[in-house]
Amino acid sequence: MKVVPSRSSEWVRPVTPQKPASAIIEIDHVSQVFQTSSRRDHLALSDISLTIEERAFVSILGPSGCGKSTLLYIVGGFVSPTSGAAKMKGKAITGPGPDRGPVFQEFALFPWKTVFGNVMYGPRQQGVRTAEAEAQSLALIEMVGLKGYENFYPKELSGGMKQRVALARTLAYHPEVLLMDEPFGALDAHTRTRLQNDLLNIWERDRKTVLFVTHSVDEAVFLSDKVVMMSKSPGRIRQVIDIDLPRPRRRSELLLDARYQEYVVDIERMFDESDEAGSPP
């Protein structure tokens, strides 16, 4: 028997049966040139091609300034590439859309809305019936661990709580792909660890496709199915590494796992080598 989940229960669906992997996002020979004010053209991304499979958790890892954010913005449709194209489910990306939900390092919450108002924003915009939107939003707020804070304004929340609201706000309109740009970069180490664990727990429920930008090697390995290593000037893909670690993962357990440690060390070594190779004599 096949049960079609209703919109409201979509995100609480327990474990999804694994479908054969199919491409959801295709990045095809994308390059990005920025005009710098003083100097000449700056090649931020050079000929990037990458395919992201449905329901995969993919991290883009690289040093600051290698074009990670730019690549994510191109997939989000916030920036259009100088050349090449990005596609979502075979259709060229021409602008932002509710099928791709961003979560930014800067949170970007609406400060004049309460936690509840922020989470309700997307469903309201999409014309979801008020009662249904309210029930969903309350459930999402609870899921990200903010029950009781519904009527707080962003000003009254800590950084970690703000990012939880931002995640709930984005999940509320059911994007097929989550685009996360160093979402935990502004948080202290303890809060970051807790949010990483919680994000994985939430992700396990429906396994949306996630494109996750980070410059932290262990964050990338801990969270991802696949790590895309980038190098700088110009921004290029260096290598794509499959992370073959069992799920569900918990950080405290994984830290002791020899394979996890191996991935982290290997990736860090590769970055060290490229730094040496790339540095001027």
Binding site: G76, F78, P98, R100, G101, A108, Q125, Y173
Partner: protein
């Protein structure tokens, strides 16, 4: 229950007013100048003015022009400022125009406007409109420019059109700054209201003031100054209440009164 600090804070403006009136009284007694009545004489003249039907009609006419000039200016200036803040093309077009108008005292334009539109309500309301517009445009522009781009991107991802983003994200995000401009605009409305009536006598609070001056009724002149000042204080206080309510979310601390202790 009011703490002593609260009480002092509330009473301070009253003491300031009493102090000012006392200095006035002493200065006027010392100078013994006909054109400088004592504070008590001026205050005594206030009930005469407020009890006079003619004077009240004049003052209400002033307030009406001010309300219309201010209201139309705000309705015109906020959208313009927001558009300028979000579109370089719009800003590039309007900036030079505003730069030309900015340093010109709006009342100095009155004689010309009077030639075109006469000495009636339209001319005076237009001058008030001009006086209010610039600060409101400027603050709306600055507020819109400062809106975090990622906030707009978040809205775009939810499916908001550019116009919806302007109305539903840029406007509320810039509201604290916009209301700062409106507050300046409100005071300027009062100032231009009086100046316009000084130049085009016919009706209004300014008309009473300057007619009294011509006739040497100095107690009435100073009584009118007090009345206009009081109007300013009341309007500003009322506006501040509304403002504080609308942008409570942006204040650094809720429900924590300013304290100097």
């Amino acid at each position: 229950m009011m703490s002593p600090a609260d009480l002092a804070r509330r009473a301070a403006p009253v003491f300031a007013c009493i102090g000012l009136l006392a200095i006035w009284q002493i200065a006027s007694l010392a100078l013994k100048n006909d054109s400088f009545p004592t504070a008590i004489e001026a205050i005594r003249a206030i009930p005469d003015i407020l009890g006079d039907k003619e004077a009240l009609i004049n003052i209400l006419a002033s307030l009406r022009r001010m309300a219309i000039g201010f209201g139309v200016a705000v309705l015109f200036s906020i959208p313009l400022g927001l558009l300028m803040g979000r579109s370089r093309a719009v800003a590039a077009f309007f900036n030079p125009l505003l730069m030309i108008i900015y340093p010109v005292p709006k009342a100095a334009l009155m004689p010309i406007i009077m030639l075109w539109l006469g000495v009636g309500d339209i001319t005076k309301t237009l001058v008030i409109f001009l006086g209010v517009s610039l600060p409101v445009i400027y603050h709306s522009f600055e507020g819109a420019k400062a809106v975090e781009e990622k906030m707009l991107w978040s809205g775009a991802a939810m499916g908001l059109s550019p116009l919806q983003r302007l109305v539903r994200i840029v406007l509320p995000a810039a509201l604290p700054e916009i209301l700062t401009g409106c507050r300046t605009g409100l005071v300027l409305a009062l100032i231009t209201m009086i100046t316009s009536e000084m130049i085009a006598r016919q009706s209004g609070a300014g008309n009473i003031l300057f007619n009294a001056l011509d006739m040497g009724q100095y107690d009435t002149v100073f009584a009118m100054i007090i009345i206009v000042g009081a109007m300013g204080i009341c309007l500003d206080a009322a506006f501040e209440r509304i403002r504080a309510r609308l942008v409570r979310w942006s204040e650094p601390q809720f429900d924590l009164p300013l304290s100097f202790s």
